[in-house]
């Protein structure tokens, strides 16, 4: 297929695009993204959809367009936030070299997926919702919507961030990742520290386990919760529960569904026998 195309390159035409036409691919990705995720090529279809109009502008010739689109439909899987960087690089290469670049486009796409997802998954897909989710979830328990509102505002900023990533990819392509990867490791580690600090506070505040058990010795009533557990350690029962659940998931490989059902059964049994109660 290469020979055929090398002979055609003189006739095959490649158009240059305006910035607006270029960014259109980033916008289309942002809106649809992985809505059409499927078990065969995962986000491949969404990726092709994002580039469909832009590439049509690049290739006026149908044959070239079909050849290029076939590459874009291939398997693709990345943290959605990071994809515009790949799309930018992809468009820049094809705009310069046409279908000649397709082999390189394919290898760039597959080689960028891994490292970009490594950065994107840990920072944007896990740590960002961890920190924002902890804060806003905690606030919401008191009926306070401020955390949720702040989260939406930050999400709006992320749309701008994705367009910037596209521009970056278009300008400098793959070089960026190697330049930044050292610093990004440090950012990820720093964010993990912040995340874990918040998680530590959650154990004490949002996990609620309470026992209404009381012991009566003649005249004296001893509340197990207030006079024993709380004296040993505030949030003693939540700490124990967290430890047990962590142990079951980490060492016994329990899935989270099993844990959820176990907790509901434990609560029902505890409630029936009056061992567990709702804090009054």
């Amino acid at each position: 297929m290469n020979n055929e195309h090398k002979s055609q390159t003189n006739s095959s035409q490649v158009n240059k695009l305006s910035k607006k036409e270029l960014r259109r691919a980033a916008w289309r990705w942002t809106v649809i993204g992985s809505n059409n995720i499927n078990y065969g090529t995962l986000q491949g279809t969404g990726y092709a959809w994002a580039l469909a109009n832009t590439l049509r502008k690049v290739y006026p010739n149908d044959d070239d367009y079909v050849e290029a689109m076939n590459v874009e439909y291939e398997y693709f899987n990345i943290t959605p936030y990071m994809a515009p960087l790949v799309i930018g690089t992809d468009v820049a290469m094809q705009e310069q070299q046409g279908t000649e670049s397709l082999e390189a486009v394919r290898s760039i796409k597959t080689s960028l997926m891994g490292p970009l997802s490594g950065i994107g998954d840990s920072l944007l897909w896990v740590l960002y919702p961890t920190i924002m989710g902890s804060i806003s979830g905690y606030m919401a328990l008191d009926g306070n919507p401020l955390g949720a509102i702040a989260w939406i505002v930050l999400n709006l900023l992320l749309i701008w961030f994705r367009l910037k990533l596209f521009d970056l990819g278009y300008k400098s392509g793959a070089r960026l990742i190697t330049d930044l990867s050292d610093r990004l490791t440090a950012i990820t580690e720093g964010a993990s520290v912040m995340g874990l600090t918040v998680v530590g506070s959650l154990i004490a505040t949002v996990v609620e386990v309470h026992t209404p058990l009381e012991f009566t010795f003649g005249e004296v009533t001893l509340g197990l919760q207030e006079e024993v557990f709380d004296q040993i350690l505030p949030a003693l029962l939540p700490v124990i529960l967290t430890g047990v659940v962590y142990y079951l998931m980490e060492k016994r490989k329990w899935g989270f569904l099993k844990i959820i059902f176990a907790i509901i059964i434990l609560s029902l049994v505890g409630s029936y026998f009056g061992i567990l109660g709702v804090e009054s």
Binding site: Y39, P129, G190, T197, G200
Partner: protein, 263 residues
């Protein structure tokens, strides 16, 4: 707001949230953000946020599962908020009824991904046939499938739900509703434990302990704890960067700053 309008909006909300989550991520399918809007629609803001907060804390760490199908906690949140507003059952019981709906939704997600494979095959076929308009249009069917993931359970809920749920709950003994409320208090532990597994807890156990002490003993506000966490993050970042500089300095002797660290 009239009931009919409420019903329509509460069905549309989780449909949009799913599409949003896979694309533009403004609301991004998180219980608190979706619950915020559900609360505005149903008019009981306070209880809505309490329900949403509980599901949010439960769902922490679920993001770490990446591309795989996970319970639809946003759908669970909307179901619970709707039931709470319409039937007057407690927040804890609403949560316990909403949760299985979200868990069952995993199956719908798997179904959507399977159906999308057919859509993709069709789209590629149109590409080969040079029907470029159809090639693009057919992909919108995938978006429809995604929306149906929430539409189907929500319509069943709105049409049959509140009355049925109320009758069942009236018949349930007190210790069961108490038990479900207790479970509602304990369930955030699932999210917390999952996070501890996915994050480098062993390496940074000190930050977990600092967070715990600040909350349990000092009873600091969550924002105060976040700010201290952020300070610790800056410290960690600087330490790692200066380590890197120190390493490259000993190799090339070009950098001299950062040497005063004793690592």
């Amino acid at each position: 707001m009239p009931d009919l309008l409420q019903n329509i909006l509460i069905i549309l909300l989780p449909m949009y949230a799913l599409i949003d989550n896979r694309g533009i991520t403004v609301m991004n399918h998180w219980p608190v953000t979706v619950g915020l809007f559900a609360g505005l629609i149903m008019g009981d803001f306070q209880s809505a946020m309490v329900i949403a907060g509980t599901f949010q804390l439960m769902s922490l760490g679920v993001a770490a599962l990446g591309g795989s199908s996970v319970p639809d906690y946003a759908l669970a949140t909307v179901v619970a908020i709707y039931l709470n507003a319409r039937t007057g059952v407690g927040t804890g019981t609403s949560i316990a009824v909403g949760l299985p709906v979200g868990i069952l939704a995993i199956n719908l997600d798997v179904l959507t991904r399977t159906l999308n494979s057919f859509v993709t095959a069709r789209s590629k076929k149109y590409l080969e046939q040079r029907e470029f308009k159809k090639m693009q249009l057919v992909n919108l069917i995938s978006v429809l499938f995604v929306a149906l993931q929430a539409f189907v359970p929500m319509v069943i809920l709105v049409v049959f739900g509140p009355a049925t749920v109320e009758t069942i709950i009236d018949w349930i003994p007190d210790w069961v509703t108490d038990g479900l409320n207790i479970a509602g208090g304990m369930l955030p532990v699932v999210g917390v434990a999952m996070l501890m597994r996915y994050m480098p807890t062993k390496r940074y156990i000190w930050s977990l302990l600092i967070g715990f002490v600040m909350a349990a003993y000092l009873e600091l506000d969550i924002l105060a704890i976040s700010i201290i966490g952020f300070a610790l993050a800056i410290y960690t970042y600087n330490r790692l960067i200066s380590q890197k500089v120190a390493v490259s300095a000993s190799g090339s002797a070009e950098y001299s700053e950062g040497d005063d660290f004793d690592e």
